[in-house]
Symmetry: C2
């Protein structure tokens, strides 16, 4: 997905949010936002938004000296989600089509996202999401593709949210599952620490993108991730960051996400706040 | 109201919206947004947001050569509101306390605002607003202050919206009413053209702020407006722009608005989207 003009001012918004998470000094907060906006001026629109936001969060880290402004938030999100895990697995297991229910539970987890500044009540949402059809629903194609897949690459999204992916990861067997997290901290995206903290390593082989960007910008990720992408028969992509980047991948990708930004919603042809299960080949061109 | 750090990136958002209204050339749109953001870097936070946005909209006018990007939109809003005027007056007149109903109808008109990028259905909203209590409600104080006022200064807000002020203007008698519009175009704020187009001049004496800012920044407005402010026993202030500026006025101001931005909502101590009837003296300090 190419960068929109809206991404430019939104980088300033995100940088200010991150700076506020990193420091209480308003002068330093302003310096972070200003520096990010300065670097965004005249920015080339042929790159992905993920590449610009990577720069933005790096600026905040450099100017504040705080390596991971959302570390504590991620820890809390993992804990909150782990406390709900048994209940979510039970809800999924009780559904007639538990694979579909697991996809919907994974989608429900996607409302946990610090980057958009929204609040949420996850317990309420899970139950609701299990019974609301996504605005774009390629689930039937997903189930068919999965039945033929030997290896699945699951591109995870945020801390906390990854717990809600576990019922789905369990139901991808007999396919081999490789679960990808970020190579370094960005917003509240899950890293290796989070994968281990929630026990994802007991269900799948964990790899990282090799970079500290949201999603997996193909010009930025490490060689290991590119190899996994090439070797996967099917890719499950969670969240906006992965959509922004993996819609350019030469792979059979199914995007699971809630459209939290107007540009992403328009990209998908759905309304703001809608959820989708969308196969890459069925999306309109960017 | 002092400028918040959030106002900086939001200026970029507003500039992009205005540039898109003025031109379909994406390079020119980006140039407008970039130039506004460039001028916002390191911006002093002791001025009002209205002073910064005045600069932003001037940049768009200068770079695109379009003097009034929202001219057609304002014309359409006036027409749409005029088509509803008789119905609104009838609804107000049917209420037991028609002064209060007129205040609520004026508030209902405040949801018409291009600057926030929201959509609306005004016919639905008017009826709803007449029966929903504002989150902060100083109406009783307003009615008492009005009963003692010889002269009222009514600081209007947007085109279209000003039609919904007419039932209230009619009910301010026996006080003399001076209705203020903007001295030049900014977003969809009403100017003298709009006041005349909706016939406000038949109900009140029309003055302008003498400047092309939202609201009435006291260091920027013309001497005529300052004289009217000093001569008024009571000021009715519509919308966010007027709140951003008239909360610094030495006058008995009643703010009628819907909090459309998180910073304004926090300033007022209400939730985003809430409406208020708030006397200046009852507001928390900025």
């Amino acid at each position: 997905m190419r960068t929109r003009l809206d991404c430019v001012w939104c980088m300033g918004r995100q940088a200010l949010d991150a700076a506020r998470a990193a420091t209480s000094d308003p002068r330093l907060q302003q310096a972070c936002m200003d520096e990010v906006l300065r670097r965004s001026l005249g920015c080339p629109l042929d790159r992905t938004p993920a590449e610009h936001s990577m720069t933005a969060y790096r600026v905040v880290r450099e100017l504040t000296g705080v390596a991971d402004p959302y570390a504590e938030e991620k820890r809390r999100e993992n804990e909150a989600a782990l406390a709900l895990e048994d209940e979510v697995e039970r809800l999924v297991d009780a559904e007639p089509d538990s694979l579909r229910a697991a996809v919907l539970a994974s989608l429900a987890g996607n409302i946990i996202d610090l980057g958009t500044g929204q609040t949420f009540d996850i317990a309420e949402e899970v139950d609701r999401f299990l019974h609301v059809a996504p605005a774009h629903d390629d689930y039937a194609e997903f189930a068919q593709a999965l039945s033929r897949a030997g290896r699945v690459l699951f591109a995870g999204d945020n801390a906390g949210e990854i717990v809600f992916d576990k019922p789905l990861v369990r139901r991808l067997a007999p396919a081999e599952v490789v679960y990808a997290v970020k190579g370094g901290p960005i917003i509240n995206d899950a890293t290796m620490d989070d994968a281990l903290a929630v026990g994802m390593d007991r269900l799948a082989r964990i790899v990282t993108t090799g970079c500290d960007a949201v999603g997996a910008p193909l010009h930025v990720v490490g060689p290991e991730f590119l190899e996994e992408l090439a070797a996967a028969d099917l890719v499950i992509s969670k969240g906006q960051g992965n959509l922004e980047t993996l819609d350019e991948a030469d792979a059979d990708v199914f995007f699971l996400l809630k459209a939290k930004c107007p540009c992403v919603a328009r990209r998908l042809g759905v309304g703001l706040g809608d959820t989708v299960i969308a196969r890459k080949g069925n999306l309109p061109p960017d």
